[in-house]
């Protein structure tokens, strides 16, 4: 077990609950609520070791790409797909690195709110999830709710506090025929919120 997973287990447990789906090697996009910088590592650690190797978290270049230990973990352990939130090159589509990873057969972990929220329940989703759902209809979309992590490391805190947290995986959702972007994104958000109950 990589040291980072060991550390996450020690601090917050990251116990997986497979409620509507089972661990599977099918290509998947896990989408979750985002309350803490630790979300990325915690969701990844909650997956079985056999799936971790093939699952890449999508993370912001401005936080994870700054160099140092954080970047080393992102690159060597998590195999992160870096996304340019700041849009340095206005011509480039920020989703391109995700498309590239999906085309190579990787599963992805994404946080469709785009930024951390102060509330445990997610705010409105950005459209990236919808666009990926249109372009990659064969990929399963799994809603995930990460419980308690906002208490372990609230926004602005430097040290995580040990608190048991569970990661709940729900039933896959798929784009329905004739469904609009707004309807789909709202349904996806509702699927994450439903797991919080």
């Amino acid at each position: 077990m990589p040291p980072i997973v060991w550390l996450v287990r020690l601090l917050v447990g990251a116990y997986p609950r497979w409620i509507g789906s089972v661990p599977s090697a099918n290509q998947r996009i896990y989408f979750a609520n985002h309350t803490s910088h630790m979300d990325t590592v915690v969701l990844w650690s909650a997956l079985p070791a056999s799936l971790r190797a093939n699952t890449r978290p999508v993370a912001a270049k401005d936080y994870w790409g700054g160099g140092g230990l954080r970047t080393q973990i992102a690159r060597d352990e998590l195999n992160v797909v870096m996304v340019d939130r700041a849009r340095e090159d206005p011509e480039a589509d920020p989703l391109d690195p995700l498309r590239d990873a999906l085309e190579h057969g990787f599963s992805l972990i994404i946080f469709p709110e785009g930024t951390r929220s102060a509330q445990p329940l997610p705010g409105p989703f950005k459209s990236g999830l919808y666009r990926l759902a249109v372009e990659f209809p064969q990929v399963e979309l799994i809603p995930v709710y990460i419980e308690n992590l906002h208490r372990s490391m609230p926004k602005g805190a430097l040290l995580p506090v040990p608190i048991i947290c569970t990661v709940r995986f729900g039933a896959p959702i798929a784009l329905r025929e004739g469904e609009s972007k707004e309807q789909f994104l709202e349904r996806a958000r509702a699927a994450v919120i439903a797991l919080a109950q």
Partner: protein, 314 residues
């Protein structure tokens, strides 16, 4: 001629290995020949407790090989996981963060360092006095007065139960008793044995004769607890030779351990009911949390420690 420490140690551990091995084999045999779901459920309970009993043997094998420091470290780790579970059950707010950092990263290491160095005058008051005064100050600095008293009290309670109380178990092994100086680790083994056997026997008797189930724990009945407690007290009496006590003193001490342990189970069940305990770990065999495993110990350890300290070590 009295046995040396090593001989006593090996004799007791050897006895335990035989006892638990027999119990494990019997439990497995029972499980294999039973088909009724209700009976299977309690046999599963029983076997989980028998497996937990092996932890005592393991603990002392490690302590024997690596010394008293390992004993202290193992209980410190238990405190860490117990407090983690307690805080997860407690509704905390973002402004509690500093107080929690203090509790986990300062109080736990400090308390166990004091226990390791044997500074009785300090580890007996650190959490009930100094942390009790410091914690509300740290929380007040967060300038969040909503449910202030409740939040302070819950973190303080978590520290008392999971750190202060539990740390008194390894402290037993550090007691300086005249005429028993280097053998205090045996006293800790004695304490854990009486406690664990009263648990184990209570579950066995409850399952065998049943009757009135306890409100705090449906796996135990009133009759089972009484019979289990009596049997553990008898056993504690018969093991007087490994303690500094006379046989009748061993009877009273065992009874005190059993009663305090029962009260610990009662109180922890009420706390978990109040906090809306939930099952964190998943799976069948691991579904009992850390707090469930330390409930009896958390009350019995300080009681046994102080009785021994007052009457034999001071």
């Amino acid at each position: 001629m009295p046995l040396t420490l090593h001989e006593t140690f090996f004799a007791v551990l050897g006895g335990l290995v035989v006892l638990f091995a027999t119990a494990t084999v019997l439990g497995g045999w029972l499980q294999a020949r039973t088909a009724e779901p209700v009976k299977l459920a309690w046999i599963g309970q029983l076997n989980a407790r028998i497996r937990a009993s092996w932890a005592i043997v393991l603990l002392f094998a490690i302590a024997f090989a690596a010394g008293g420091g390992a004993l202290v470290l193992i209980f410190a780790i238990a405190s860490f996981f117990a407090l983690r579970e307690f805080i997860a059950l407690t509704p905390t707010r973002p402004s509690d963060h500093r107080a929690l950092v203090l509790a986990f990263y300062v109080v736990i290491p400090l308390q166990y360092t004091l226990v390791y160095t044997g500074w009785y005058g300090m580890y007996a008051v650190l959490i009930p006095v100094y942390v009790f005064l410091l914690l509300p100050v740290v929380m007040a600095l967060g300038q969040d007065v909503e449910r202030y008293l409740e939040r302070v009290a819950k973190v303080q309670w978590g520290l008392m139960i999971s750190v202060f109380c539990v740390s008194h178990a390894p402290a037993i092994a550090g007691l300086q008793i005249p005429g028993y100086e280097d053998r205090s680790a045996l006293l800790l083994l004695y304490f854990l044995l009486v406690l664990q056997l009263s648990e184990l026997l209570a579950v066995i008797v409850s399952a065998a004769i049943g009757r009135t189930p306890l409100r705090s724990n449906p796996n135990k009945s009133r009759e089972g607890v009484l019979a289990g407690g009596a049997a553990a007290t008898l056993l504690g009496t018969s093991l007087w030779w490994m303690t500094p006590f006379a046989w009748w003193q061993a009877t009273l001490m065992s009874a005190a351990i059993v009663v305090a342990g029962f009260m610990g189970g009662l109180v922890l069940a009420s706390i978990k009911g109040n906090l809306g305990a939930r099952e964190w770990y998943g799976g069948v065999q691991l579904s009992r949390g850390v707090l469930d495993r330390i409930d009896a110990l958390s009350f019995a350890a300080p009681v046994f420690f102080h009785l021994t300290w007052y009457f034999f070590a001071s």
